[in-house]
Chain length 357, copies 2
Amino acid sequence: MAQRIQRQTLVNRPTIKDVARRANVSLKTVSRVINSEASVREDTRERVQRAVDELNYAPDQAARNLRSATSHAIGLVYDNPNPYYVISVQNGVLAACHDQGYGLQIHPCDSSVPDLADELRDLVQRTRLAGLVLAPPMSERMELVRYLADNGIKFVRIISAAEDPNDGYPCVYVDDRDAAYDITEHLIQLGHQRIGFLWGGAEHRSSPERFKGYESALKDYDIPLDKKLVIPGDYSFDDGFRGARRLFALRDRPTAIFGSNDEIAAGVLAAAKANNIEVPYELSIAGFEDSPFSKQSWPALTTAKQATEDIARHAALRLIAELKPSPSGSAPVNRGFSPQLVIRDSTARIGLKAKEK
Amino acid sequence: MAQRIQRQTLVNRPTIKDVARRANVSLKTVSRVINSEASVREDTRERVQRAVDELNYAPDQAARNLRSATSHAIGLVYDNPNPYYVISVQNGVLAACHDQGYGLQIHPCDSSVPDLADELRDLVQRTRLAGLVLAPPMSERMELVRYLADNGIKFVRIISAAEDPNDGYPCVYVDDRDAAYDITEHLIQLGHQRIGFLWGGAEHRSSPERFKGYESALKDYDIPLDKKLVIPGDYSFDDGFRGARRLFALRDRPTAIFGSNDEIAAGVLAAAKANNIEVPYELSIAGFEDSPFSKQSWPALTTAKQATEDIARHAALRLIAELKPSPSGSAPVNRGFSPQLVIRDSTARIGLKAKEK
DNA sequence: GACGGCTCTGACAACGTTGTCAATACGCAC
DNA sequence: GTGCGTATTGACAACGTTGTCAGAGCCGTC
């Protein structure tokens, strides 16, 4: 006589019904308390809350998502080869979700596929997502953004822009231009006049933004822009390596190179070593992003620190605020972030010798 | 019978009811087809499938999870400071989930909190997860594993072990010992006799496993183990840096250092540079893991390549197989993976000069 | 004391799916 | 033709929650 194993103890968790019975109210009232709706008498609310606490009740997400018009889960859409960036974004969004009692569906994707828009719409429908957080570069493809908006899909973009774009679509914006200006200015103030610039991927809006910062700092210091010092490429180590080699081959070599992100800068560093160029004494190198490895390379990289996790958290909070019927009447507002210059050992005054430092 | 072709909008996606009407069968039959249950006549199945395709129907996850005893979502639990590792694991698990029509809930956590077990149980209950994939080090904490099992929570562990532990709890295991042996042997065959070893975090079972591989290779080649060459530490750049400095301070310096992962090895590399020790000619360095930056450091790191994404994918497939009532009757089986030695430029024959290479 | 307009509460249906169980159809042996 | 076992199908309830709407209680006004 085999004793049949009981259904998992998992099943025995308390439901809204148990809470209602214990607090001696109806299901609906408990629901109201949980969702902090108005019009529940204070003493009733307390009684229900006590029952909730005693039973350690938590609403069932599946049931909630099924029934309510607006679900309690959002999606995070990204296509970024940089794990440091992705993890930071995930953690920021997760923190916001946890705070607000929302679930999170991560969705890495290939931004180059033609039917990405449909893919995202399907994702939202299938998993009943209340909205999406879009990371670059998807967040910057306007035809995609418009399609989503037209299909009634709520979202918040994380984008690169010097100021609030005010294009009618919600976002959190990062002022890459300003930070790139700071980096370039830092190099100029160290005495560098010939500063190479390695572009990031053209599909990211941050790339032209960073270039604009570079360009504008040069202009402010009356340094002519030499197009031979500006190399297109991708946000990758390999393109940093290749770009640096092209710059090294110039008759009039740059004394400093600004890589559009830390990976590019790491590539430049490797190329310098391969060519026996001593960093920072013969060549200053700056990156952008403040990845952990910018601290760990040798020498440690001068860079611009993005508060990626914070940015992502705010994007998610912005989205969730958008989703909830605003009780205070104040509409959520776009917010801007400015990366901060971080000076480390890969940049030095031009002509300085090792011993003098 | 008038057929209404409706444009699929967010509010109006097709339900199982629409499919049933179109295929002229009952709801239940459609459900059976979707879940590929037995006992549906072939022509009925085809008719339903056609309707599904035509309507582009996809089951609603929320409703499905709510109703069915076994939900269609699993969780991924990790606590790892290495973004490369985490992203690989995520992508592997996601691939499996996508394949099998499962949802994924990621759950980064702090493995040092005392009530982690309760946290995970709550997570499973609240989000109705059908099971968990546990990454190290949580996967290797037996009291946690037992607690989960006792509470009827299904899981599959990703663990470090030389062979199937056969401890009754399902896993996918990685033979770190064997790979560490290979790395050590590679160094020995290059002529190194004094090989430093930097431990990884003690809470990871991979750490002693890798040490055992090191130990056993030395023994096989009759090289006495010098305890002064073995330094405890964490899987971090900083501990690699500090450990290397301690080794450099020894009267009889090692000619090679085996760092338990690539980050440690990167720390060793930085320390070598800080001490003007030329790699690989004065010092060979090996890592473990094959992170992208092992290719990008200078010189590129000799390491062991773990097929992390594949491992994670199999762990998830193993879990899902466990969850489904096995139709073929074959119980899912634990599977082992062996990292492969990857020789790059950070290791060289002892005494070799730069020019000779 | 009837009434209107609040505030608060509850009964009930509904969301889209799967589990249970009964009903029907079919094939085959007698 | 009858009976029986198996294959296939469908009706209905149920999962746990929220939306709708109506009801109950209270207060102040005429």
